[in-house]
Structure formats: C-alpha cells, structure tokens
Symmetry: D2
C-alpha cells in the first residue's frame, strides 16, 4: 500500500479524547493531515474542525468511512461502539486506530480482529501507557531480563473524580479503567498468560449509585501461567490527583513506575515539605498520546505491523470479563484461550 | 502490682530475635534489668548472658518461669511454642511480651488470652511495625480523619532471602510473615473488621520445595466491613533488600509508608543515579523493636493496658487462617468473629 | 501594529539552537509560520528549510532583514553577534527574539535596547528557564510571599560535556553559561539588585586549555541590596548528565527546583536503587523552549510587552562582567546601575 | 596504657550537649561508665548525675581532672573554654574528647594539640558529621575514587532557630556553626588543603543585633590547592527545620548527602504531597553522636589514634578565621599552613 503524504486521517468522535487526538493529528505530527472529523452530535465535528482549520466535518460516520480521501481512521467514540466501528472501518479499507477498549465482548473482539485481518489493514489499540517512557522502559528492561522472572506485579489507576455516575454504564471500572492495568500487567509479564482471576469491587465513592450497578473501587488479583501473581487496583476519586503506577518484582530485582508528582518544585515550610500532584490524565500521558499516534501513522506509512494489536485488546478484555464474572459469582474465574 | 526497680525481665529463647531483644533489655532500656535467659539449646542462654554480663541462664524454661525474681517475660522462641508459653507464663504470674505470631490456631489464641486475663497480667504481642514512626504516624493521622474513610489498603513484606527451606514449617508465609501485614491492615483501618479473604500463593523462589508445602510468594486480598479492600503481599527473596511498605488510600487522601532506601547518600554517575537499599530487618525496625519493649515495660510498671493485645494477635491470625483456607480450597473464605 | 496570520517569522542562525527553534516555529506553534531562515554557512539555511518544508533560505542575513514578508526574527547565531543583529533587526522594524546573551558588553546592550525602543518593536531575550514550569512556579510563589524575604539563593548549571575547547571564546562560562544562573538569581529575588560579586574560576575539566583563558569551573557569590546572598555555580562536564538546579531560602521557607532525574522508572537490584539522569538540555527544557517562543509570538500579536526584556539581559550581563573582573583582579567587584 | 573496664569517663559541662553525651555515656555505650560530671553551675552536675544514677558530681572542673578514677574526659562546655580545658585535661593525663570548636585561635589550638602530644593522650574533636552514615559513606567513596577528583563542593548548615542573640558571641556563625561545614569540606576533599577564602555575611534573621556584631547568615567560598572550589553556607533560622546537606561534584560523578525529611510517611491530599522535616539536630545526628563517643572510647581502650584529630580542628579553624578576616576586610584571604 502506497500512502499519500501527508497521510490523510479521519477522526471518529469529537468528544474529550477525540478533541485531544484531533489536536495531535492537526498540529503535532509531521507527515499527517487531519482530513475529516465525524461525530453524530450536531456541530461537534464542525466546531472542532473549525478550531483546527480546514477539516471536512461529517455527522454521519458512514460518510467519513466512504470518503476515498481518508486512508486511516482514529476511533474515539463511546466504548460500546468501538468494535462495530473497527469492523466497518476495516471493511472500508481504512487503517484503524481504536481507543480502548476495542470491544466489550470476546465475540465483538474476534469479529473486529478478523475484519482487519481480512481487509489487510493495520489495527492498533489505544493502550497509551505502553508509550509512556517509564512503562516502556520497564517493558524493555524486563524483556532484557533485568529483573529476572516476574513474580509479583501491581498496576493501579485512580482517577481524580468520577464521570457523571448517571452516564457510566455498569462494569465501566473493569471495561474502561482497569482494562489499562490488565494490559500493563500482561505487557510487563512478557510471554505469560493470565490463568485465573479474583475480584473484589464496591461502590465506595458513590454508594448511592451502587444499586444501579455502578462500581467505583476494585481490586483484582490475577495468576499468570508463569506463576506470577498480579494485582490491579482502581478507584474513581483520588482527591490528590491522577494516580497511575506500576510495580514489577522479579527474581532478580524490582522496577517501579509512575509519577504522582507534578513538576520539580518542592516547598519547605513550617508545616514540612510540599509538592504538587499530577491532576489530569492528558497531562500525565500527553507525550504518550502523541507517541502512540506517531507510531500508528508510521505503521500505516511503512506497512509495519502495529505494536499494540487487536490480540492485545482481546487479552486485556478476557481479564476484564473474568473479573466481572468473579464479582458476579463471588469466586475465582479461569481465563481461557489467551495467547501470551 | 508494685514492680521492682529496675524491672527484672526474663528472656525465653536465645536465637536471632531473642539475642536482639536481650541486647535491648540489657543495654538500651533504662529501668530494666535482663535478669535471666532460658533456652533449651545447650549453652545458648549461657553464651548470650555472658556476652551481656551478669544474667542467670536456664536450659529449662520452667525454671525461669518459676524464678520469683522475674516479673515479666519476653517470649522469642519458635512460633509454634508461643501460645503454650504465654499460657504457662501467665499462670506463673509473669507479665508477658510474646513475639508474633502469638498463636497458630484460634483455640490456642483463645486459651492464651484467657490465661492472661485470668492471671491479671498484661499480654503484649510483637507487632513491631506499630512502633515504627512512619506506620505509627499513619495510624494517628487515619484515626484523626486525615484521609477520610480508608477504601484501598496495601501492606507488603519482602525478605532479603528465605530461611533454610528445610526448617520452615508449611504456611510460614501466612503465619509468620504476612501476619505482620494482616495486623498492619487491621490497624490502619481502625474500627473495621475483615470479612472475606482470597489468597493466591506459590513457591516461586524455591519451586523445589513446593511439594513439601513451602510457599514463598503470596497475594492476599481482604474485604473489610467498612467496604475497604486491602492487599497483603509477601515474598521470601527480594534481591535488593528488606522491603516493607504500606499504603492507605481514603476518601480524603492517601498515605504511603516504608523506606527501602538505606541512608541519605545519593550517587550520580555515567550510569545514572544510585542509592543503597535497606538489607536487614533489625536495621529497618531497630528503633521500633526498642520502642515496643519500652512500651511493654512501661505497661508492666504502670499497670496500663498494652496497646498491642492478644485480641490484635487473634484478629491477624484469623486472616492468616482464612488465607490458608483460601489457598487450600481455591475460593474466597469468610472471616468470622473479629471485633474491630 | 496589525500582524498577519499566521505570523511570518524569520530565523537567523541554523546551528544547534537555531534548528531546534526552527522545528518549534514550523511545527509546534499554531498561528506561526517559519517564513525564512538565514545563515551565512553555505547550504545551512537551505538544508534546514527543506527538512521543515517551504521555507525561504538566505545566506545573507541582511536579505532576511530586508524581506518585507517577515514580521519577527529569532536570533540564534554565535553570542558575539547577537547585539549587532538585535540592532539591525530592530532598525528593520522586526520584532526581535534574541538568544542569550543578548550582548557581551554593556555598551552593546544599551545600543540594542535603545534600537528596539526607538523602533517601537518588542525585544525578548532567551532566558528559557523562566518558562520552565518549576522555575516559573518558584517565581510566582516568591512574589506571592510564600517564603518571605529571600536570604540565600543558589543556581547551578552543569553541562554534560564541554564544547570543543578550541572553539570556545574566553569567559564563555560567565557570558554564555552562568548568564542563565545570574538571570535566575535576579528573577527569584524579585525587586532586589545585585551589588557585589566575587568569583573563583578555574580550568579543571581541561587544564590543558587554561593558558588560552578557557575556564570551565566557576563559583560566583553575589550580594544583593536586600541582603540576600547568592551562589552561582557552573562546570562544563558533569559525567552524569545535564544538571540545572535552583534553591531559594527565605525568612519563611525554602523552595528547590531542578530535575536531574529522567523519567519515573526506578530499578531496585542487588546493587541498590538506580534511576536515569537527564542528559541533554533540549530534553530538560524542551517545553520551556516552546513556551518562550509561544510567549514571544503572543507579544508580537497582541502588542503586550515581553516578559523577559533587554533590561533583564543587561542585568545578568552586569553580574557576568563583574564576575569576570573579579576573576581578573582577584577581589570582589561592585555591580553598578542595575534596576531591580 | 591499660584501661579499666568499664572505662570511667568524666563529663565536663552539663548543658544541652553535655546532657546528651551524658545519656550516651551512661546508657548507650557498653564498656563505659559515666563516673563523674563537673559543671560550675550550682546543682547542674548533681541534677544530671541523679537522673542517670550513681555519678559523682563536681562544681570544680579541677576536681574532676584531679580524680584518679577518671581515665577520659568529654568536654562539652562553652566554646571559648575548650582549648584551655583540653590542655588541662591532657596535663592531668586524661584521654580527651572535646566538642567543636576545639579552639578559637590558632595559638590556642597549637597549645592544645601540643599538650595532648606531650602527655601522650588521645585527643578527639566533635565533628560528629564524620560519623553520620551518609557523610561517612561519601568520604569512603571519594577516597576510593568513585567520583574522581572533587571539583565543586557544598556544605550547609541551617539551624531551626537562633539561640538567644544576647548570649551569642560575635563570629559564632563561623566559629561554632560553619566550623562543621569547613571540616566537612576538608574531609570530603581528601588530601587537599584550603588556600583562599572569601566570605559574605550579614544579620538577616535578627538585623536588630547587627550592630552588636551578630551575624546569622553567611556564604563562604573556598579554593583548595587541588583546584576544587567549595561553598559553605549557614543561616540561623530555617523555619522548616534543621537542614544539613552536602554535595561533592567530581570529575567522575557527584555525591549528595543530607536528609531534610523526617521519617518515611508521605501524605497525598487535595493540596498535593506532604512530608515532615527534621527539626532538631540531636534527632538528625543522634546515631552519629553515639558513634563518635563509641569511637573515642575504643581509641582510649585500644590505643589506636583518633580519627578526628586536633589537626583537623585546627584546619577547620584556619578556614573560619580566614572567613572572619574576609568579612572584616571585604576581600579574599589566604589560608596558610594547613596540612592536608
């Protein structure tokens, strides 16, 4: 596939994440052109496109997919629509970058993966932490054997505040938040597959929404087939900021990742030592978001396979679904059929 | 009870922990006298006593318990003997400090607690981390509401290297190592009781001993009756040193504790930044070990009730036993009958 | 002055710093266009322009200054040429951003400042550390009184390795390196002026170049008119990386700034704790370089006065010249005529 | 010299520092006996001795020196009396430990050193930071070549609050506070001697006492004969606590020392990250104070020469006197005759 230069990309979804990706595509990536934006909300695509200059706006996603001037799409719509859009975009012959989670059922995931394979288009999934310099360097070191065999892992995500509980579907904490941690744990335990999952979860931040199935606090333990034991932890309201950390303990050492501290100013006064916390995810992972789209566009341009694949998305989803089942049944759940 | 001055204390057990306590009693605590040491191993009590000067040595523990010149005992024998010695010492009218675990069955624990109550003697248990300045200050802050209601807790213990696997009884990781973490989690979630436990454990450090029931790596998750979810984690071989850390995340903030770093020298060179790790537990908790014995002797002297009680030991044991049952059955286990 | 959109900017100097600014102007700043590049070195402007796409290239700086399509210039040539170019650019009616040092004599500085004033064009100087989030926040806090009156200040610069000693003019360490620290100390002690300077300097990195007047290690102490005592320190070869730090101690507290650590990955192994150092200045101050050009272009666009002025450059230069005189005479030197 | 066991030591001076040493001698050092205390203040020696139990009390220092039951003395009186007491104690045949500064003139220093040499008694000086684990390890690493040749050094002391200004003699900041830093800089630049000193000093904390010669803020720069440039910095009122830090930058790396942080509890809340500061010197250097007396008593017992000598005290004093002269004359001052 020969690609045009600059590469014309269509963005699907002009919400918070979509707007951020739009800016990256329009301004931060050389060799890329944000050619079109589609969003069913009236005026959303148009408004975003106008702010960034010279972008076609669609309210019908199908029109963007039918646009022959678009070579690749970035999907940043609500989670439940992802898999269907991956399928549609792949069938339309577009290279596909899809925000996490790529799918919310294994069937959906399989169809999306198959569609991309059938169409021969690259499919990359938005596990942006893999592109964060700290988590990335950890992966490299672990692969190089720097800490021996992983034995205990931890990944956690704490958001500064919950989204409007009325708009969060049930199981969001597993399917949209912890999905990152499940991917991180899989990625930082290279060559191993999760085999068993146990989860505790509760509505501690907003107990008033518990009867609607909204859970905002969870601890998931995972046993991998190389013996490693892992913990994933999430909470929707960390009053101190946005907290994403990782830890991998192995037979030959330990690595820790994560940066709660914002900036490098430290204050010392009568009350002791003080420093600021990171408060917003697009700040914490700003460079990682840019790096993952840069990597995606390079895959499109060079024909190289993406480094974060539909199979990776499926693996993380398998753990999320097992965790949901564990919460539902109250017992541990086997995870099946995940290739390491 | 009027006590003599200096307070005459008898030490039972002249092994590693006993030797450390002996030195504290002989040299670091004003108002205290190490009056006698008992250890069945020939020469052990005598050798230790000679090094410290002027201490009676017994090879029969019963003789020490019968010695009317002894007002209080410090029990630092192998774990399986603790509860029986607590009972015997209490019946002999001695104030009792007992190393953790105080007991390895709930029945034993109940008998030990009852014996001390019947005899009207103080009974304190060696959860030394409660006396570490960081963990202690965390407890004070949490009680004062500084982080609101605890929602997610973590406590971990990683030893630098395993004891001789041939000499470790099965379930040691739960009964002797994680017992500290179970107590920490209970202590840092004041007023709450554990209700459900799930554990994964394995022999990752010494897989060759797995068929003898020796487990060296474990992750335990605990649900408390205030909704808080906790994780306790242990491993017997951290190549970088002795790693004890805690984290309590609450509705109004987070506290972290633990000090892997030894000292305050930092080196910067072509390979980056380097610092030393703490490598030995008596170094990490040196001051805490002294503080707990100081607190114990003050209880004896003043009649004040100990701040780490037999009930605390029983609560931690309940979690340990539930974790063992969880590993055995493969499912979550309810914890019953623990007063907050 | 009404400005065109996007603002057409001409870059003078296509060396290391110029290339970095070129990329910022071409790609990272919305509302800006890198319209032309001038560099006397054959092919330098053309090569850089081609890499970035669609930029006019000049080998005669005068041609760029005569280009009516250029509204503002960024001067990134060798230090000794700065002041003359500021004058020429101002006379040509261009808004001027000039890399530090703006001048190497006070006369030059005065002429450059006067030229910009006469022409009514904004003149901004490249003290990029003022745009670093940590140093910037420190300034804000100090102005707000957070640490009371500054009493002891420190600023240091250590470069990873020296430039080719054969190509460094004498006094470079004061005029081009420590000039940053002199500005930082002035900026973090708001409202105060330096009154006396004493300097020690030596050739410790390359003693073989000492007889050619090349100094690579210096410590400068400065007394300010509010009593504050400050230290500026520089060295040309820090084997561990690029080290820029600041410290301000005041009557009500202390602030520290500076980030030797690169990233947030920490490794723990048998040799202790390890982390990486920052090794390259454009990495450390990447965002600050972008922010200062964004600020400059906003000044051009809005007519607002620059926040880092020719007077700031002159103040830092006064301290540099006093330090040079101190090294030459071996005694302390009074600094005259600097407005706070 | 054969010494008695436990070694009978006499303490001279029952003030703040003396009381601390008394407790160390009485309780923390095996093989040592606090045999007598002398203090001219009525009741001071008696009160302290009674608290510690069984110690002879003198109000005449001469009586203690004449006591044949005393083998060694610890001098912890006001600074101006030290040298005379060292002389007297040495003449009385006692091994001598003297708090810093050992002397406040070079003549005094020489007489004290000579007296100890003539009497053949060990003379150790209280530069306790050499016994702090961090500073000690830095010294070892530097001697082993870990950072190559030292090029830039820094040592600072900031006290939490000034002593009663009415009771501080002039030049205290140099003779009693910075004397520590001068020793640290000398010690961390092994084999090198200070050759030139320049000092700025002022009364910024208590300007109302400036006309009485009380200075509370100082920055001293020192040039060593190996080219290294050093800064010593002091202030009498750090509102955040007790701040002692060091930094040595060399041709092959850098070391930093110093621990402003108290404990290992970190709090994260809506206002960011918070931790406590060290606030009191006997806390910060508690272990170092004990270690130096342990080292001294070992010297007495074994006949080994002390590791912190009268010559070390003289070297630090030379720098202090040069700094005082620099403040007086306003210019740099040569330091003469210091053996490395």
């Amino acid at each position: 596939m020969t690609t045009r230069h600059p590469l014309p990309i269509g963005l699907i979804g002009a919400g918070r994440m979509g707007s951020f990706h739009a800016e990256t595509l329009a301004r931060r990536l050389p060799g890329v052109r944000l050619a079109a934006i589609a969003d069913p909300a009236p005026g959303a695509a148009r408004g975003l496109g106008d702010r960034l200059g010279g972008t076609t706006a669609y309210t019908e996603i199908a029109e963007l997919l039918a646009d022959p001037g678009i070579e690749a799409v970035v999907i940043a719509t609500p989670a439940r629509t992802h898999a269907g859009l991956v399928e549609a975009a792949a069938r339309a012959g577009k290279a596909v970058y899809c925000e996490k989670p790529m799918a919310v059922t294994l069937d959906e995931a399989d169809r999306a993966i198959a569609a991309a394979a059938d169409a021969g288009v690259p499919l990359q999934v938005g596990f942006n932490r893999r592109y964060d310099t700290g988590f990335h360097a950890a992966h490299e070191k672990i692969r190089a054997g720097a800490i021996g065999t992983p034995q205990l892992l931890r990944s956690l995500t704490r958001d500064p505040k919950p989204a409007d509980p009325g708009r969060i579907p049930p199981w969001t904490i597993f399917l949209e938040t912890l999905i990152h941690d499940f991917d991180t744990l899989h990625h930082l335990n290279p060559g191993a597959a999760p085999v068993e999952v146990f989860a505790f979860a509760d509505a501690l931040v907003r107990p008033d929404f518990k009867d609607r199935g909204l859970l905002d606090t969870a601890v998931v333990t995972i046993r991998f087939d190389n013996g490693a034991l892992a913990t994933a932890e999430a909470n929707f309201q960390a009053v101190y900021g946005y907290d994403v950390r990782g830890e991998v303990f192995g037979s030959a050492g330990m690595l820790t990742m994560g940066d709660i501290r914002r900036g490098h100013l430290t204050a010392y006064g009568p009350d002791g030592i003080a420093a600021d916390c990171v408060t917003y995810d697009q700040d914490l992972f700003h460079d990682a978001y840019v790096a993952e789209l840069a990597d995606f566009t390079e895959c499109v341009r060079t024909g190289r396979a993406p480094s974060v694949t539909g199979q990776d998305a499926r693996a993380a989803l398998s753990v999320a679904l097992a965790a949901i089942e564990s919460v539902t049944t109250g017992g541990p759940v086997r995870v099946g059929g995940i290739a390491a």
